[in-house]
Amino acid sequence: MSRLSLLVLTLMVSAMLLAGCGEAPKEEKAEKAAPAETAAPEKVVLKLAMDADPVSLDPQVQLSGGMLQYAHMVFDPLVRWTKDGGFEPRLAERWESISPTVTRFYLRQGVKFHSGNEFTAEDVVFSIARLKKSEDFKGLFTAFGDAVATDKYVVDLVTHEPYGLVMAMATYIFPMDKAFYTGTDPKNDKPKDLILKTDYSFANYNESGTGPFVVTEREQGVKVTFTRFADYWDKATGNVEEIILTPISEAPTRVAALLSGDVDFIMPVPPNDLERINTTEGLKLVTMSGSRIITFQLNQKRRPEFANAKVRQAMAYAYDNNGVVAKVMKGFATAAAQNSPKGYQGNNPALTPRFDLEKAKALMVEAGYPDGFECTMIAPNNRYVNDEKISQAFVAMMSKIGIKVSLKTMPKAQYWDQFDAQAADIQMIGWHSDTEDSANFFEYLYMCPNKETGKGQYNSGNYCNEKVDEITMASNTETDVEKRKAMLQEVEQILFDDAAFIPLHWQNLSWASKKDMNTEDIVNVMNFPYFGNLVIK
């Protein structure tokens, strides 16, 4: 037995050594082969690692960042956001306002679906009708009625009332192939366009979009292979012929995969490794100020102290936004004093972080709490970047004005139930506006909670101000951009003056890739990289 085991051992050791030796020359070979590639074209493959893969092939089954990233690869929206916050035509070539409630979209002709079917206005009508049925999307599309196809290539989006966000919503309309998704699926005897979250459905496992990539292989949670769609309408795009997406949830492993050359592109980059990637030869780091605001809500119903505006103001003065951004976030965030990031209509440039400890203490005395008080707080510990550390910093800062906060953090899977139940006096929430518009923050986070209308659904602070409600609702039907801008900025000012909540910062976004790519051109503040436009030199 000893001889046998020794033999096996030697074999294993030599196998490892061989493997090691075998790998090194291969690396060199790859480097040498690189310049020759232009002469003899090889398949351009992007090995991509993200923290998760799309949960389904059905773009309308779940509204999440990951699914929208997927939709931009396999489907194509009517219009999409440009880097400066404008709209660029995709499947819609141009558009015009016919009446306050009707916007007409002229569709691109000669566009093919992956199934080979031709893309027409009927597909847009079908897709919008399906969006209005989807549990996740119907909330976004309540303002819309049924779309009307007035011609084979012309479609009218109809809203119930004048609506300022028609174009923003058009970025969510990824037309699906009507013919492909119509009929009965023999596998489960159910209609092919059925939207199912937890079970097999035709749309969860099959796709036909108009996008730059076709899903050619998929093993959920392990690997997705995207192959360039040969008949893609937009010829003036990137050169990536295949994308192999591997989800790597562990951040250090994701970074190691990039550093070791096993993958070409990673997102997101953990803050701790930004420096390392930035200084590594052959790699490129792209960062951008994000649009997800991180805030603390102060529950006025649970805590009479928080109903006092002076106390809330004192807390806002006691919190050092810039200090936390510099120390805890390592500069990888933008200090905030309002919800709307720069570029949003509601962004009010007059509002800046107001850290002033003396003023905070004075306000506490004025409010009648010179000795402070005790309260509870909850925060997630795996939802936002450094969420736990930020919360601890907040607790430490509040102690300086006598407010003793007992903090409890928990994983996000448990957090949201606690959040909904308003289990603590102070609760953390981060919010990214789905519409890329300020009113979305107000509707969900600050309007008076109302079960029937669904407004203030995430307002666990129970802040309620008629004026905020009034202006926010009015802004939705205001189509004059300048007027609307003034209204939204006014709301930000009210929320700031009232200290309706404690704003912390906007999380930055980050992507890292090999140097020979135009990474900076394809990424954007929504974090939907347009991989169709990626060029690997």
Partner: protein, 325 residues
């Protein structure tokens, strides 16, 4: 022996019931699966409706009863995330974990036996001291740290070994995804196997050494020496054979700990096995999958321990007396 076997199996079933009950009763503590299935905008009413459809609003005993009833038919429920029966998901992930555990076990056996015996026979030699010293270091470094260190040395710095995943796999018997048959797959196996074996290997070296040293001191070994039997025969046949018994028992128990360590190892290496599947199911509050993993792993534990006990009973009949008490 028959009565002992029956008793042992009855115990095993009871343990399985307890495991499933505990697994089932803690699942709600991991959060609401519906929350992970819907976007942030979905209203509480809509969520309640989905929960209703999934039967999550039923009383605990109704849910548990349904689970047990289905489990007897081999149906452990559906994974919300994978949108498939959990048994299918677990079976598809099992080969990765089994191959990883197999390779780690191979490393442990091939290294611990010769090293343990050597350091027992020659406890004072320099090499033995190095092995013993090294084993203390090995035991005290956590698995995930070993794994990250390996990745940084061999992938990031030296570019010798791939940093994550299973690499190229081949389908065997139509469903078993094997990484053992391709060069790429084998290369991907090296670091995870070493990381996984890093805690157990030193433990086994020390165990074999101390057991062996004890046996070498015993009367019958001394007698064997006195009879003039060749050293090799004394060490292997007389001494080592008797060292094996406790090593097997401990090995059976340690297999369970190994499963626990696969969770860490697989997570760090993005190894698509049952361990990382479990962690992800916890993060996603995919409760059906989570509970089933606990039940399946519990089942493996129980089966292994029952078999170990039965083998032990065969090898050493006095165990039966203990079992009867």
């Amino acid at each position: 022996m028959f009565a002992f076997t029956i008793k042992r199996i009855a115990q095993a079933i009871l343990v399985m019931l307890i495991i499933s009950f505990i697994g089932f009763s803690i699942k709600n503590a991991f959060g609401d699966p519906v929350r992970e299935l819907v976007g942030e905008r979905v209203t509480p009413e809509e969520r309640a409706k989905i929960r209703d459809q999934l039967g999550l609003n039923d009383p605990f005993m109704v849910q548990y009863g349904r689970f047990l009833k289905n489990a007897t038919h081999g149906d452990l429920g559906r994974s919300f995330f994978f949108k498939k029966p959990v048994t299918e998901v677990i079976i598809s992930k099992a080969p990765a974990t089994i191959e990883l555990v197999f390779c780690a076990a191979l490393i442990i056996i091939t290294l611990s036996v010769p090293l343990g015996i050597y350091s027992a026979i020659h406890p004072k030699r320099l090499f033995s001291r190095i092995v013993m010293g090294g084993s203390i270091v090995g035991v005290s470094i956590p698995v995930f740290l070993t794994a990250i260190l390996l990745i940084y040395i061999f992938s990031v710095e030296l570019h010798w070994l791939p940093s994550f995943g299973r690499g190229e796999t081949v389908k065997v018997f139509g469903w078993w995804d094997s990484g053992l048959l391709t060069k790429d797959g084998l290369l991907h196996l090296i670091m995870p196997s070493i990381a996984l074996s890093s805690i157990m290997l030193p433990l086994f070296i020390r165990l074999i050494r101390s057991e062996m040293m004890e046996v070498l001191e015993s009367e019958y070994v001394k007698y064997a020496w006195a009879k003039g039997i060749k050293p090799r025969r004394v060490w292997w046949v007389h001494a080592f054979k008797n060292t094996l018994l406790p090593v097997i028992t401990v090995g059976g128990v340690q297999l369970g700990i190994m499963v626990a360590f696969t969770i860490l190892t697989e997570t760090v290496f993005q190894w698509q096995g049952m361990g990382s599947m479990f962690i992800e199911s916890v993060e996603r509050a995919d409760t059906a999958l989570m509970v089933s993993y606990i039940v399946v792993v519990g089942f493996i534990f129980v089966v292994v321990n029952t078999i170990v006990d039965l083998i032990y009973g065969l090898v050493n009949p006095t165990v039966r007396v203990a079992g009867r008490k």
